[in-house]
Every structure is written in structure tokens, then in C-alpha cells.
Amino acid sequence: MQLLCAIERSRAVSATTSVTARRRNAPWAALVPMALTVLVAYLGTTLWSLRVSLTSSRTFPNDDFVGLAQYQRLFENERWILALQNLAVYGVLFILACMVVGFLLAVFIDQKVRGEGALRTIFLYPYAMSFVATGLVWQWVLNPGDGMQRAFRQMGWESFTFEWIIEQDRVIYTVVIAAVWQASGLVMALMLAGLRGIDEDIWKATRIDGIPPWRVYVSIVLPMLKSTVATVFVLLSTGVVKVFDSVVAMTQGGPGTASDVPAKFIMDHLFGRANIALASAGSIVLLLMVIALVLPLMIARNKTSGGGGHA
């Protein structure tokens, strides 16, 4: 009898431990699907692309490994080099312009202007539109034959000329203009949220000290918005690397290949040109570039927030 009791008691004990264990493991169990998604869908496909990029695959993946030949071919290709240059120009200008325009819009709205709600909607509205539609509209606006140029000339400004979209060396700037028009509203919304989080007392203190408002924005508010700025930067950067739809809608990479970007190069080779090995090599290069850009930023942020931050 005693033995039976002992067994019973030990069972009860083990049951309670297993309940606590289960409770402790529950969050991890809930994360398993996500972890699997990351491992299989992201990491797995990345490794698969890496593998394909080392082969001579055309329409279908094959096992004929050719080392780095695809990468060599990639960097001997003038179109790819041009696409990378365009990406750099586009990236720097797009991020800078979005930040500046978005911040200025946020500051403007932060002045407690009348009709704030309406203005906020207007500024944010372009972001709600698909870039295919945006790109098409901008293509019409910038077309020298029947867009803005013709409108100005008909209004009497005969010498008005704005033909960047057909100029080899300037066409990429038109893509920047359209993209900034679309994305700066989002930057404004994020910056405005940041501005609204600034303690009112700081403003009172600076007013007592007689510091001009612009100085407060630049020297006090902006540094306080550091994490917002970093978030915006990361958001915009991912937008830069994957830029594709705007170029396709606006210029199709033209005139010639003047406004080509890496994502378009990759898509062209992946499907139209049945060369998945070269396309994979291109996407691996893009991934390396993203890592090279984002990693230092993440390390820096981790350091400043004492290692346990929210990066």
C-alpha cells in the first residue's frame, strides 16, 4: 500500500513538473512554424540560389558545377555594371531626398497647421498607390511629346525643356523623382509620430532659452529621433535594393539599358532569357550588398543601446 502511495505521489510530482515544462516550452512551440518558415523559406532558398549560381543551369537547375564562372560573366557584363551604378545613384539620392522631404513635411505639419488631417492624408496618399500606376502616370507627365513639357509650351513658355526621361545620363533621376514623390509621405508619417513623442517641456525650455526653432529641430529634436531615422533608413534601403516595378512601369530599363537596375537584370535572365544560374549569381551579389550595408548598422545600434536593444 505504502509503495503504491509512493508511486502515486511521485507521479503527481512528475505531472506538475511536466505541466510547468510544457508551459515553459509553449512559446517556443508557437514559434516553431515561424522558425521553420525562416529556415526553409528564407535560408533554404538562399542556399539553393547560391548552389544554382555555381552551376551552368539554364531553364532548369542542374548539377554541372562551374565554380565562379557565372560571377565572372556577371561582372564582365556592361549591363550589370550599369545596373549597379544606377542602383547606387538611385539609392543615395532616393534615401537622402525622402529623408529631407519627409522630415520637412513632418515639421510643417507639426506646426499645428489648420487642416492637418487632410494634409496628412494628401501627403501619405501616394504611398497607397501601386508603383505600377505611379510609374505610368509619371511616364506620361515626363514624356516630352505629350506631358508636362508640352503643357508648359502650350501655356506660352516656348523654351521650356525637360527631357530627362529620354536622356541616357539623366533618366535614372526621373525614377528617383517618382519614387521620392511616392515614399516621402511614409517618411513624413513616421517622423511626425516621432516628433509628437518629443516632450513638450523640451520645447518650453528652449523657448525660455531663446533658441530659434530651426536650431531646436536640428540640434535637439533630430538627435532624439535617432531610432526613428534608423527605422526609416532600413525601410527605404530595402525599397532601394528591390526597386523593379517603378523602372519597368516608367522606362522598361530604357532608353536602351540606361535605367536598368539589378532586380530587372535578374528577372530578365530568370525568365525571359532562361539563365537561372546567372540570375541567381546576381541575386546572391545583391544579398551580399544588403548584408554589407545593414550589418554595420545593426552592430552600431546594438552597441549604443547596450547590446540588448531593439534592433
Binding site: 539554364r58 531553364t59 532548369f60 556592361e78 549591363r79 511616364q139 514624356n143 516630352p144 511629346g145 505629350d146 527631357e163 526621361i165 529620354i166 541616357q168 516608367m250 522606362t251 522598361q252 530599363g253 530604357g254 532608353p255 536602351g256 539599358t257 540606361a258 530578365d268 535572365h269 525568365f271 525571359g272 532569357r273 532562361a274 539563365n275 546567372l278
Partner: protein
Amino acid sequence: MSLKKLCAVAIAAAIPLSIPAIANAQGAKAEVIHWWTSGGESAAVKTLADAYRSAGGIWVDTAVALGEQARSVAINRIVGGNPSTAAQFNTSKQFLDLVEQGMLNPIDEVALRDGWDKFLPETIINAVKVKGHYYAAPVNIHMPAWIWTSKAAFKQAGIAAEPRTMDELFAALDKLKAAGLVPLAHGGQSWQDNIVFTAVLTNVGGRDLYLKVLRDRDAKAIQSEAFKSVLLTFKRLQGYVDKGSPGRNWNDATAMLIAGKAGVQFMGDWAKGEFALAHKEAGRDYGCIAGFGPAAPYIIQGDVLVFPKTSNAEQIKAQKLLATVVTAPATQVAFSAKKGSIPIRTDVDSSKMDICAQQGIAIMKDKTRQLGNGEIYLNPDQNGALSDILTNYWNRNIPVEKVQRDIAAALRN
């Protein structure tokens, strides 16, 4: 299956198959993936569906806009193990990888029974026949390098006759320019630049140079003076386009001819669809020139149906019926009349087709004038690389010698 066995099967099958085959295929369900989605194209594909239905089959239409998209859907479904009965490809090397991976069913039985070798142009046979087996049923022939002229614009510029040589064409372009019209209506997209190049290569370079460059990828021919003058003529044409040209769609360029604002366009015979929509008539409102001189090559491109591998007897029956129906003379004429193309065979009644199509069919009867387009000789990758170089040359000031070097390098591998 060995070739001998296959031939035996094919011959055995051929005897009773000719007419009863159609009756046997009652209710054979065929799903066809294609990208015939525009107005004229969907009217054309409807003629195929109707013909297939009246042969007793059930047509299931899977239209996917844009060729690239449609082809990748077809390939993904083959790889994923759920292939369609048939899929549209261009008459080219696009489906060669599928053949090499053993992912397509050959349709030798139909081809041998109907005697495809007897009526198909050699260029098409070379594209659909791989290592002795037929892997695709040709649907139509498009000629991408027609020269279209606007009679209204020509009249306004005081040009009496249609140009008959390249020099006369340039003279006409100069007159159009002097009259304040857009001489050359061109859509500055790389594939359209490529069409202009193809037209110049056939009309200035001629058949031999064409084959040496695109089929043999002969570096010596690419570096030759003859090819240099082709490139220079191509570049010279660029001087006749308007500023709105970059990025323009081909049909917008055709619209300029229809409105009489522009004089000349290089474009495939699908442009006839645009003229027809605007109620313009060939010969009265617009002119069509297949090439200069009686020996000018006629470029062949077009569409085919391929038949993904399956062991399902019903599906194989449907595939054979499809191959039979789409190549039949009556279907051929009905389809091409709507599509703006010409039939794959010249033994058809062309009297109801427009004068441009009749001109094309007449030229096709001369085998020495038939040539494939770049896609037939080059794989998609080489073709793409060539197109990048040409579109850059069209748009930028690049020394012609560098272009020759670049082309030779791009076609080497």
C-alpha cells in the same frame, strides 16, 4: 522507346488513324496555356477552340497575359507535376531545354501521318524537330520585319511611289522630315530596336550574312565590312525618329501611321490588327513591304504548341487531336486571318486573306527566301545579350567597331 519501335508504332497507327482518330477522341479534354490575350489574338484563339470542339474535344482555355509569364506558368506546372495538355511557345529554342530534360511528349505519329516534312518550311521543321522527333505543333508564321508606310503621310510629303530599295527608303524619310512629319514611327524598346536591326540585316546584309552572323555566329562575318555597313545603316535610321520615341509601345507607333503623322514603321505583321481596328485597308490606306528586291529574305517566327510529358492515355489522345486540328488547312486560314499572321503551309486557299498576307504566302513558296528570326538560331541568353548591345548602340553614341567586338564576344559562348 527506340526509334525503330516508335516508327513501327507510328506507321501502324497511321493506317487507321486518319479520320476515325477524330471520332475516337470523343470528349478528349485539352487544357491549353497561351498568351493570346489581346482583342485580335483572343478572336484568333477562339478559332482554334472552335475547331477543336467540332473535332469532338473539350477545350479548356488558360490564357496568361505576356509570353514570358505564360511560359513560366507552363514550365512551373510541368516541374510541379501538374502539366497542362498543351502550352504555347514561340517557334524558337525556348522549349529546347524542356525537350532535353525529357519533359515533352513527341507527336511523331501525327507529324508522320500528315506528312509535315512535305509542307512545313524547313526553318520551322528545324525548330520543332529535335533529334528526329517532332516536339511541337506549329500554329502560324509571323514575319517580324515588315516595313509599313502611311499613304496619307506619303501624299503629304509628295512621295509618289513606295520605296523599292534602301536608298529610296532614305530618300522618302528625308522628304517626310522636310514636310514636318515624323519620318520613322518607332517605339524605343529593345525588342523593337531588334526588329529594325533584323530588317536592315536582311535588306542590306542579305541572306548569307544573316545566316553567318545569327546561325553560325561567325566572328569573321561579324567583324566584316558588310556587317559594319549593316550596323551603320541601322544607326542611321535612328536619326529619323522623334523625341517621344523612347519607351513608346509599338501600337502607339502604328497609330502615328494611321493618323498620317508619321510615314514609316518597321514592325511585324501583327500591326495589321491595329490598321484593321481603325478600318484602314492594305493597299489603299497603308502599304506593306516585305523586303526590297525579289530575293529579299522572309523572316519566319511564330507560335507553336508543345505537349508536356504525360502517360495518361486520355491526355495523349487529346494532345494528338490538338496537333492534328491546329495544323489542318481550314484552321490555319481561319486562325491567321484573325491573328494577322500567315498559315504554316502554302497549300491553302489564300484568296480571302488581305494583300499583305497573300504577298507573304507568295514569297514563302520560294524556299531560298525563308529565314528564321534570331530566336530560332540563338538561345534565349545569346539573343538577349545581342539585343542589349543593339539597343545600346541605337540609343548611345558608340563606335561601330566596339559594337562589332561586343557582338562577337556575346555570341561566342
